[in-house]
Symmetry: C2
Subunit: 244 residues, 2 copies
Amino acid sequence: MNAAAPQGYDPHAFEPFAVTVDLAVFTVRESRLHVLLVERGEEPYKGHWALPGGFVLPRESAGTAARRELAEETGLTEDAVPSLHLEQLRTYSEPDRDPRMRVVSVAYAALVPDLPEPRGGGDAAGARWWDAGRLGPLAFDHDVILADARARIGAKLEYTCLATAFCPPEFTLGELQQVYETVWGVELDRPNFRRKVLATPGFVQAVEGPPRRTGGRGKPAALHRAGAATALHPPLLRPEGRST
Amino acid sequence: MNAAAPQGYDPHAFEPFAVTVDLAVFTVRESRLHVLLVERGEEPYKGHWALPGGFVLPRESAGTAARRELAEETGLTEDAVPSLHLEQLRTYSEPDRDPRMRVVSVAYAALVPDLPEPRGGGDAAGARWWDAGRLGPLAFDHDVILADARARIGAKLEYTCLATAFCPPEFTLGELQQVYETVWGVELDRPNFRRKVLATPGFVQAVEGPPRRTGGRGKPAALHRAGAATALHPPLLRPEGRST
DNA sequence: TAAATAGTGTCTCTAAGACAATATAGA
DNA sequence: TCTATATTGTCTTAGAGACACTATTTA
């Protein structure tokens, strides 16, 4: 953008680039990784499912557009959305990724706790959660975006405290472990997981009041909140470097 | 890009988005991290230094544009460029990041071995290497992009075999260690570094022929090539989690 | 009681950190 | 010789993996 424009370049003369955002919104539901998809009502890919997203408006950054879309698609209240984890993934710009026109899409990954089914605020009329392990082909290049998003999230669980973003404000260590096991597709040893989490300062903080909560019929578990730490040193490496 | 366009949206009616790439090209020179910058000859930021970059052409992907710019700016031959490490960093899209028009820029980081001063093939007339630790403010938001790029590269040295991308085809373990020390800004214990690198299958492979090379006046070191591995399991963590 | 989940303790082993000692070059 | 770099080896310690055992709930 600092180099001279190509000879004779005039931004208005070329077919312009459209810039959009696409969102891979993940949650953990019933021990399965789920992703929020919307059904396309128009060609191309009519009837296929796609990642939610939309145009970046003329005075918006891509990040702002992504947060706006996230609020619209999840139907969450204004004050709940800013606390959700949303991170830029990468940008997809193959010339023919959309047959209608030249569209460059900035992809984002969002992590949310288990939410009710979306009641579309905007375009999300046909939005629902899908088991990320049982998806047919998605519209456009969204299979690739989704795979990249899963890989990124799985990797970040190793060296960040991101897993708490999947949990409600108060959670048990068992629930936190479920997040790791679900995203990584492995089983972890409970005592060792517990030792690691508690040994990392700021990962979680115990909720002092002795209230406890049951997960079914065993012993109630102590509740925790997300701590202030964001990085995990040393990391919590997934067994054998499998990537699902 | 799947949601309906905003009411009355016509791609030609709005001020269009321009899409560019910006490159943070790094090398290690004389034990210092260097970055390739170009001097701006026009307003805005005339006389300031900036990351090399340019427009994404109508039939190009951003990745293709980045590789094209990398070839132009480094002045390398066609066959040398494809082997260089080039990775997408993230996209910068604040509405006012360029005062002239709406420009969305996809940033890339490139790692190259120590190269001669660039003799500009194209727009790179005023291109040169700068010590990344002694930079004045750059044009546009390029300080932010550069900082993000350094952080990413430093982090990736921990869990990938990327460091070899800074080295010539054959290198000594001391040179490889220099890469880590320079990028991280720390000193590492030589025997331990050596043990770790050699214990990671596929990180480096010894060059069998007993040719050796001197770095000054000590004992000559054995030569190695980059191996086939890309990931580092377990990672080579930087001491104390400092981020320079 | 049995079954299920939460939590504690312990042993082992890998690998990283510290650092001594040896090897081979140039000045 | 001395100095500088490369290379090998050893001791210690932090932390992960495996797993036995105890605690507290519901059925």
